[in-house]
């Protein structure tokens, strides 16, 4: 009963909470916490897919006065989504995951960019992990400002259903193993689609490393490796690791994780290493 009352109260007038708290001799914090955790767990809190478009629109407006390149990019995305004709079952979840990620990242970027001084901006980057700092401080702004030649290819990729659930599961499994061994992972759909990067990984030395994981056969592999290296260079990603695996090998996940963690610490700049 109390929960129901609180939900109503929170929904309409938070100040009544304080009144209730005073009446029942409960601290305001406790009441607010209960109300907060309650409202967070109710099913209705999930977004409706259509709300994402509203969020995108309001970000475009916000960005237009802070970072016009970002506004342009978001506007481009808005138009681009309109033309997607889903050709596979995974297209919708993938487009939504991509949109929610872009909206979140754009929001973080705009909050930082609105800060009045460089020192305040730097302080925000200090709160980030090395991978986050590499992403929000280096690669994401590059993406905002770049003329992304691959952008038009994305739509085709999504429509053709090139997203591969099996690869996604392997990337996720590798990421889980890295995390369980106290390495850090950062996964971004923008990095995947534009920068040939499945994961950004850092280990003891806190040096983010871009890795690409692939299962293609040897002949195709060589071509893919060259395209990967040139993509990384074009984004001024200083080093990278290209992992190809043989699913027949029972131990391949462990091998890839070992190679990744080691190279994250020790691969020198200017090296684009292939491991197969």
């Amino acid at each position: 009963m109390l929960k129901a009352t609180l939900y109503f109260v929170v929904k309409y007038k938070i100040s009544i909470d304080i009144f209730l708290g005073a009446q029942k001799n409960q601290s305001v914090e406790v009441l607010l916490m209960t109300a907060k955790s309650y409202s967070y767990s109710k099913v209705g809190d999930r977004l409706q897919a259509k709300e994402i478009k509203d969020k995108l629109k309001s970000l475009i407006e916000q960005a237009s006065s802070i970072d016009s390149n970002l506004a342009k990019k978001l506007d481009e995305i808005n138009r681009w989504v309109k033309d997607i004709k889903p050709g596979s079952l995974t297209a919708k979840p993938l487009v939504l995951a991509f949109l929610l990620e872009v909206i979140t990242d754009a929001k973080i970027w705009l909050i930082i960019q609105s800060l009045p001084s460089e020192a305040e901006k730097a302080a925000k980057f200090e709160q980030m992990t090395p991978n986050e700092r590499y992403w929000y401080g280096y690669l994401f702004p590059k993406w905002i400002n770049a003329t992304d030649a691959k952008f038009y290819i994305w739509k085709q990729k999504l429509m053709a259903g090139e997203f591969n659930q099996e690869d996604d599961d392997i990337i996720k499994t590798i990421a889980q193993h890295i995390a369980s061994r106290n390495g850090n992972v950062w996964q971004r759909y923008i990095a995947d689609l534009s920068m040939a990067t499945d994961l950004i990984v850092s280990n003891h030395q806190q040096q983010p490393l871009c890795i690409q994981i692939t299962s293609v056969s040897e002949e195709l592999n060589r071509q893919k490796y060259q395209a990967w290296e040139s993509t990384l260079r074009s984004w001024e990603i200083e080093r990278g690791l290209f992992l190809s695996y043989n699913p027949q090998n029972a131990n391949f996940i462990n091998q890839l994780v070992n190679v990744t963690l080691y190279n994250s610490d020790y691969l020198v700049d200017g090296k684009y290493l292939k491991f197969s």
Binding site: S39, Y40, S41, K42, V43, D45, R46, L47, Q48, A49, K50, I52, K53, K57, I60, K72, D75, E76, N78, R79, V81, K82, I84, P86, T90, A91, K92, P93, L94, V95, L96, A97, L100, E101, T104, D105, K107, I108, I111, I112, K124, Q127, M128, E132, T147, D148, A149, F151, Y152, F163, Q165, D168, D169, K172, A175, Q176, A179, W186, Q187, S234
Partner: protein, 143 residues
């Protein structure tokens, strides 16, 4: 694969830097647990008709720009020439610039403006003149 049973609120936690970063981290953690299926935690109607009904809003709707964009990515021989010429430069930026030119520039100055838009350094290049001329003719025909 089954979808996650929990749900996450996206709305309430995006106002401050700390909240926004926490949201990004939570989403990352959820991706780590569920892969692409994490999206069901945050969005109610992933498989609904939102994509089919995603329209341009009036504020951003711009048929001229849409038309130019469609042309630039088409199989038209001139569009192919333009893409070869542009290389890594953005087609979207070109489309935006051309739309602006079409809206603002007086007819007598359009050719010079298109040349400027296309040029990287020097504007006297014969190729650019020819390309600009063909492009302007094409736009005049179709817009």
């Amino acid at each position: 694969m089954t979808n996650p049973k929990e749900t996450r609120s996206y709305n309430h936690q995006m106002e401050t830097f700390t909240e926004a970063l926490a949201t990004a981290r939570q989403m990352q953690q959820d991706w780590l647990s569920y892969g692409l299926n994490f999206i069901h935690l945050y969005v109610d109607d992933v498989d609904g008709d939102w994509l089919d009904t995603w329209e341009n809003d009036e504020i951003f709707a711009n048929p001229v720009l849409d038309h130019i964009k469609e042309f630039l990515v088409s199989d038209d021989i001139l569009a192919v020439r333009l893409r070869n010429y542009l290389g890594e430069r953005s087609l979207f930026d070109l489309a935006v610039n051309l739309e602006e030119m079409w809206r603002i520039t007086p007819a007598s100055e359009r050719l010079a403006t298109v040349k400027n838009i296309l040029a990287i350094g020097e504007t006297d290049d014969v190729d650019i003149s020819d390309l600009a001329d063909s492009l302007l003719n094409k736009l005049t025909e179709t817009l």
